[in-house]
Amino acid sequence: MKKFKYHSPKSLDESRKIFMSCEFPQYLAGGMTLLPSIKQGLSSPTDLIDLAYINDMKGINEDNNNISVGSLVNHNEIAKSHLIKKYISGLAYLASKIADNAVRNKGTLGGSICNADPAADYPGALISLNAKVVTNSREIEARDFFIDMFETILEEGEIVTKIIFPKANYSSYEKFSSQASKYAIVGVFFSVLAKKASIAITGAANKAFLIDEIEGLNINELQNFNLDNINFSNYDINSDINAGYEYRISLIKSLIKKSLANLHL
């Protein structure tokens, strides 16, 4: 395996300072994507900055309206959290369907969103729920966070510390995944916040996107909504070895139908 220097800072400031002083540094969270990438030569950092010792980035907490999840919280912790199961059950279910158990024990929410894989599960949940991404220097609307495939709005050395999710009236996740990797070929996150619906799709384009035609509908309007009214030519749906353009659209429609059929408030 390629050589690199390892750092284990105890604070956000120290982490960022180390980052800025290195040639090609990378932050290490759970490492479930980064380490396989380094092993395959897809990533060659000179320095790995392990964030595991920073306590500010751990834990799941609630206040009146929100659940905040530390960026180092792993997928199984999210899947099993009583708070998340109670207030954002779709997010807990989503986390329980990421990869496999051993990966879920190590992979983190923050690591996943910063990697911004277009087929990852979380981005759809973040934008549908209108979550906020908190970093060491600012708060970013999740809807502004994802820019493109593997690209976020984060600046050089910026560190995501937590994600703030609103408690939802209702949330669900439906995924049609690659059998080998469990990445989403199409994933549909459905949420109802303040009685308004929002549906986000992951896996089907360069980044997760909202279905504009559905955004903000109330439950009655949603139940009468005709899926043929979605203009898919606006969404840059991709076509690849897993699913062609038309098949993906058909998957999106059937998973939305399934989400709506299971709706119970």
Partner: protein, 156 residues
């Protein structure tokens, strides 16, 4: 590259030493400690043959750096049972023909132990779903599920 000081407990043995930062846990187990019961199958985080327990959680040892395990308690299959006194999960696999070639078995034993702790997992379907990250190239899944169910029933 720097050397990093680590303290770990592997199969109840305390190890304290300086290691290369880029050492993967699985390589340390197999090449340095000669604990070759942990297998490398795919080396790309898919197959689960390299799963060990770190602080009682299943982790793929091919996808974690040894330095990330600092101050952890690690159990490999060598620490599970002895040849003359198998762990109960190993006995269940032996009694139910839960292995053929045995390559995937160490990883599957640990997944089985973690799933057995989850009292919500009862049905064959749930067991199979949990074992999603463990591939058995002999395709002996029926007897693997049978072995795990037998262990869960014995355990309770």
């Amino acid at each position: 590259m720097n050397k990093v000081k680590i303290d770990v407990k592997i199969n109840s043995i305390v190890i304290s030493k300086e290691v290369d930062a880029n050492t993967l846990l699985v390589d340390f187990l197999r090449y340095d400690l000669k604990l070759t019961g942990t297998h490398v199958g795919c080396d790309t985080s898919q197959c689960g043959s390299c799963i060990v327990m770190i602080n009682n959680k299943c982790i793929k040892s091919c996808s974690i750096l040894l330095v990330q395990c600092n101050n952890s308690i690690i159990t490999t299959v060598e620490g599970l049972g002895k040849e003359d006194k198998l762990h109960k999960i190993q006995e269940s696999f032996k009694e139910n023909h839960g292995l053929q070639c045995g390559f995937c078995t160490p990883g599957i034993l640990f997944s089985a132990l973690e799933l057995a702790k989850d009292k919500d997992i009862k049905s064959d379907h749930q067991i199979r779903d949990f074992l999603d990250g463990n591939l058995c190239r002999c395709t002996g899944y029926h007897n693997i599920v049978k072995s795990i169910k037998s262990y869960i029933n014995k355990d309770n």
